[in-house]
């Protein structure tokens, strides 16, 4: 049986002004439907590059990505992306930002009323329906990221791609959003690939944690399966030996793979 999402022997070489740069080398990963995968690694190792290849925003130099046995060669709403800096359009209201996606993706399958209901449903899902008429400039960073998630969920993607979605947020807001994301993902059964540099975030949310070696020619060094029962509650898990074991495992990996520039 073939995997739902499969990254097959992906490598990428960037042509830059200073010559060519080998960013990724022999990256292989199979993701099942409904699985939550985190990718963790030091800054600059190539996490965003992998995500962008899966999104179709970048083309792999070698190898390829298969989603439901179809080659991924261009971006599309079946692989919705939540970008680190929210990327909401500042001239549109919260509602209209989600509507832009819904009206485009569901124009054939949903009537006008159904689309409106669907927009509101997704805003409620991230608890942002109260601010639907606000502009992105009028809401906090955490709220923007919620709207970004609502916009992505509203596309009903086969895979939800998140690039350090909570990286720029304060710890408390981040914890809230992690809980929301986990709860929504459990309920809807989305397949998720999330980039993070936060160990707790990775262990709390993931079914598997993909740990990357440092670049150049970065690749997947280790994959950790997280066998923690759901629902996962952060307060209870704080004293859980299994949780702390996973946490230590990831920390040890990151520590053992400190980037050369730090060691020097």
């Amino acid at each position: 049986m073939s995997a739902y999402l499969s990254i097959d022997d992906v490598g990428i070489t960037f042509q830059t002004e200073k010559g060519s740069f080998r960013a990724l080398d022999h990256v292989n990963l199979k993701v099942d439907k409904g699985e939550f995968i985190s990718i963790i690694g030091h800054s600059g190792c190539g996490k965003s590059t992998i995500l962008n290849i899966v999104a179709g925003l970048l083309q792999a130099t070698e190898g390829g990505v298969l989603l439901e046995n179809r080659e991924v060669d261009s971006p599309g709403p079946d692989r919705a992306v939540v970008f680190q800096n929210h990327s909401l359009l500042p001239w549109l209201s919260v509602y209209d930002n989600v509507a832009l996606a819904v009206d485009k993706v569901h124009s054939k399958t949903k009537s006008k009323e159904e689309r409106h209901a669907w927009i509101m449903h997704n805003l409620q899902l991230v608890r942002m329906d109260h601010a639907k008429d606000k502009r992105p400039g009028e809401i906090s960073g955490g709220m923007k990221q919620r709207v970004g998630i609502a916009r992505a969920l509203a596309m009903e993607p086969k895979v939800l791609l998140l690039d350090e979605p909570f990286g720029a947020l304060d710890a408390l807001t981040r914890a809230h959003l992690q809980d929301s994301l986990l709860e929504i993902q459990r309920r809807l059964g989305n397949t998720v690939m999330m980039i993070t540099h936060d160990v707790d975030e990775a262990v709390l949310l993931s079914d598997r944690i993909v740990m990357m070696s440092n670049g150049p020619a970065a690749t997947i060094a280790q994959v950790l399966k997280v066998d923690l029962a759901h629902p996962r509650r952060r307060v209870e898990l704080a004293d859980d030996p299994t949780y702390n074991h996973y946490r230590a495992e990831v920390l040890r990996f990151l520590h053992g793979h400190a980037p050369a520039s730090v060691a020097a």
Partner: protein
């Protein structure tokens, strides 16, 4: 309101009528002070300038009439801008309005063409490389240099004048719009790519709103150039228009009328500039 007043206090205050109020400045005086701070300095500047001019031109052999003489000479023109004796013997309102109509047509044309062309050029690296140097050269051609070509092509005064406005003002609109499109953040392009927006949808929903500030910079430069161009062009093509009015006054040695017309030209140009700024602020929300 900064103070809380109960009904009884108001009553007391009314009864004790002319008693002086507490010394804290009220909202009203604050507003007046604010308006004064904005209007007073330019007003004082103007008075000093007019005073110097008056002094400098009081002597017998002065080449320019002093402001007092300008005012006396043009009193009728100022007070009755709406007279119409047929032909080109009309009030200043009609001259200005004729010029503004030409600007409206020429500038609308250059706004539409400039924004569309700028969008297309900004999207394509190749088009930008190919056309940018040509535009950079063409935009330095002075308005009047286009007039002979324009007259040869259209063989009529009015369309030629409108064409001159168009060709003078279109370059900054194209160039600024193109820069705006090139500066659309990669994030917005990624959103468009993930949603698979068509080129037309990308243009209408992303490129256009994202480059509004740049477009309005271009429009602002463009409207200024339009106004420069029309006044100059009208001097040559004749007919009704503020440019022709100035030329006509020069031929009749009516210095005061020229000066009055220049004041109007300046004020209208300023108003046009403000108009574009205000619209730009409205559009970008």
């Amino acid at each position: 309101m900064t103070m809380v007043t109960t009904p009884t206090q108001i009553k007391e205050a009314a009864e004790a009528a002319p008693v002086s109020r507490p010394s804290a400045p009220s909202e009203m005086t604050k507003k007046i002070r604010h308006v004064a701070a904005i209007t007073l300095p330019p007003l004082i500047g103007l008075i000093i300038l007019l005073g110097l001019w008056e002094l400098a031109c009081q002597t017998k052999g002065a080449m320019l009439p002093p402001p007092s003489k300008v005012l006396a000479d043009t009193k009728e023109l100022i007070l009755d801008p709406f007279f119409d004796n047929g032909g080109t013997d009309k009030g200043l309102f009609w001259h200005l309005s004729a010029s503004l109509q030409r600007v409206a047509m020429g500038f609308s044309l250059s706004a539409v063409v400039g924004i569309l062309l700028g969008m297309v050029i900004g999207q394509s690296q190749l088009a930008m490389r190919a056309l940018d140097p040509i535009f950079q050269v063409l935009r330095t051609v002075p308005p009047l240099a286009w007039l002979p070509i324009s007259l040869a092509a259209f063989k009529a005064a009015d369309p030629s004048a409108i064409f001159v406005i168009f060709i003078t003002s279109v370059w900054p609109i194209i160039l600024n719009t193109a820069v705006g499109v090139r500066n659309i953040p990669q994030d917005y392009r990624n959103v468009a790519a993930v949603l698979r927006l068509s080129p037309v949808e990308f243009f209408a929903k992303i490129a256009m709103p994202a480059s509004v500030p740049y477009i309005f910079t271009g429009l602002k430069i463009g409207i200024g150039l339009s106004w420069l161009a029309i006044v100059a062009a009208e001097m040559l093509i004749g007919g009704v228009g503020i440019g022709f009015f100035i030329w006509d006054a020069w031929n009749s040695s009516l210095m005061s009328e020229i000066i009055l017309a220049l004041v109007y030209v300046g004020l209208v140009g300023f108003a046009l500039d403000r108009l574009i700024t205000v619209i730009g602020k409205k559009v970008s929300g």
